[in-house]
Amino acid sequence: MADHDPAIVVEGLRKRYGDKQALDGLDLTVRAGTVQGILGPNGAGKTTAVRIMSTLLRPEEGRVEVAGIDVRTRADEVRSRIGLLGQNAAVDEELGGRQNLEMFGRLHHLGARRARTRADELLARFGLADTGDKAVGRYSGGMRRRLDLAASLISRPQVLFLDEPTTGLDPRGRAEVWNAVRSLVGGGTTVLLTTQYLEEADQLADRIAVINHGRVVAEGTPDELKSETGGDRIDVVLRDAGRLAHAASLLPGDVVVDEDRRMVGATITDRMAALTETVRVLEAAGIEAEDIVMRRPTLDEVFMHLTKEDAV
């Protein structure tokens, strides 16, 4: 497989559970060696898509190729080229970390000796060498997740699926997993990452596909998605919350008011002109500003914008 070939191709993927159309014509192409984020609200179909791509579920309709191989007809070949980190820590709590990795190595048909050396390598790489013999049940959440990640890397997969890898972890555990994922990139591994945390996608992903109701509603780099959703913003924090409504009426564009933070925000086009104009109209109206900030939209705003019909 050449490096410029896509690592994952999904076309017109459909899957139904009873009455619910979990995937409704999902299309996605992931370039080899990149990190693809899949972002979407609960029930958007993220996990179903990952389960199909990683051969756990059969697609109903559509084409899915991973590492150039059809998941439906040649699942076994796909399995030897992928790693999967599911939502639950899929390791044996009763066994030690090393025992877990050795077992998975044997089941990957590495043979006893190579399974052992591979386990040691991975324990060292994920900072688990000292705790390799301790039962996994006594690991911290972050350690368990790192072991889980190590287990999904046993066979040096071409494509790694991470399904909500940091859900349920504390900030330290999350940072540990993020660092581990970053260390993979550059090694040529293609990573597909689903997440509910926009910051996570922003931090890790080269490209992001936002999915909703089982299909892709937006796709691009984090920057592209941010600029598609309406360019820069200006936020003004007022000294007096009572003047918020008045200030909001003076600002142009798409205005939002945040009472708790005594803040009005608006979309802008020309940063310098908007800054001068805002300062001028506020001064003229006698409204005191505590702080004025200009910024790109956050991915949260992009996400809310793209999936907002849900809220209605």
């Binding site: 051969t55 080229r81 599911g86 066994l95 048909h109």
Partner: protein
Amino acid sequence: MSAIHGAGTAHGAGSKPIWAVVDSWTMTRRELARWARQPVQVVVGLVFPVMMLLMFGYLIGGGQGVAGDFRAYLVPGMLTMTMAFGLEATMLAVTQDLGKGVIDRFRSMPMNSGAVLVGRSIADMLQSAVGLTVMIAVGYAIGWRTHEGFASFLGAVGLLLLLRFAMLWVGIHLAMVAGRPELVQAVQILVWPVGFLSNAIASPASMPAWLGAIVEWNPMSATATAVRDLFDNPGAGGDSWAATHAELLAVAWPLALIAVFAPLAVKRFRDLSR
């Protein structure tokens, strides 16, 4: 790229017959390693049926309607009950694997797909063989004796393990259907009335006729009666068809259960990818 990636794996080899054996053995070793890590739980699992045997043999002192030495009647009954209750252990283990997502990891790897179930079978049968040995030793220590030859003894052990093997598939199937720890608890409670509705501890002769008939047809009763015969221990008696054809039923019942539940369990397992 493939020179670096996936180089360690024999591509697509999970379907070759040799991997069925190797992977099943790896899965069996996984269970053995778990026991080594949890010696207390293993010992508790072995001691529980011993405790039951001693309780019924010495404290409760039942043997309603049993002609002859009650302990000689009780030991084969408790051996049978121990094998039948292996259902719980299987169910619990399969439910835990499903719940933790570790089964998903196995299914996403290029291993032999049957090895998960085969490894479970071998491990559970090994555990039951050890449990049976302990129970036989304790039985011997409290004065229970067999009076037939070694061949009959082996025949009896074979029938007991056959019942356990049938319960293994029932357990796997129930775990795949129920899939939740609460339902395992329900089964752990329900095995008791089913266990007592057999001739393992009391004789059907002591029961109302309609209840006695149900008891005689219980697969556990068939195995217990056949095993008592083979050990030449006092039996429950009775002249119904079920009571007089216990050897036949002790083979037919487990085989029937396996014929029904093994394909269902395998289908459930395959349908995980639905």
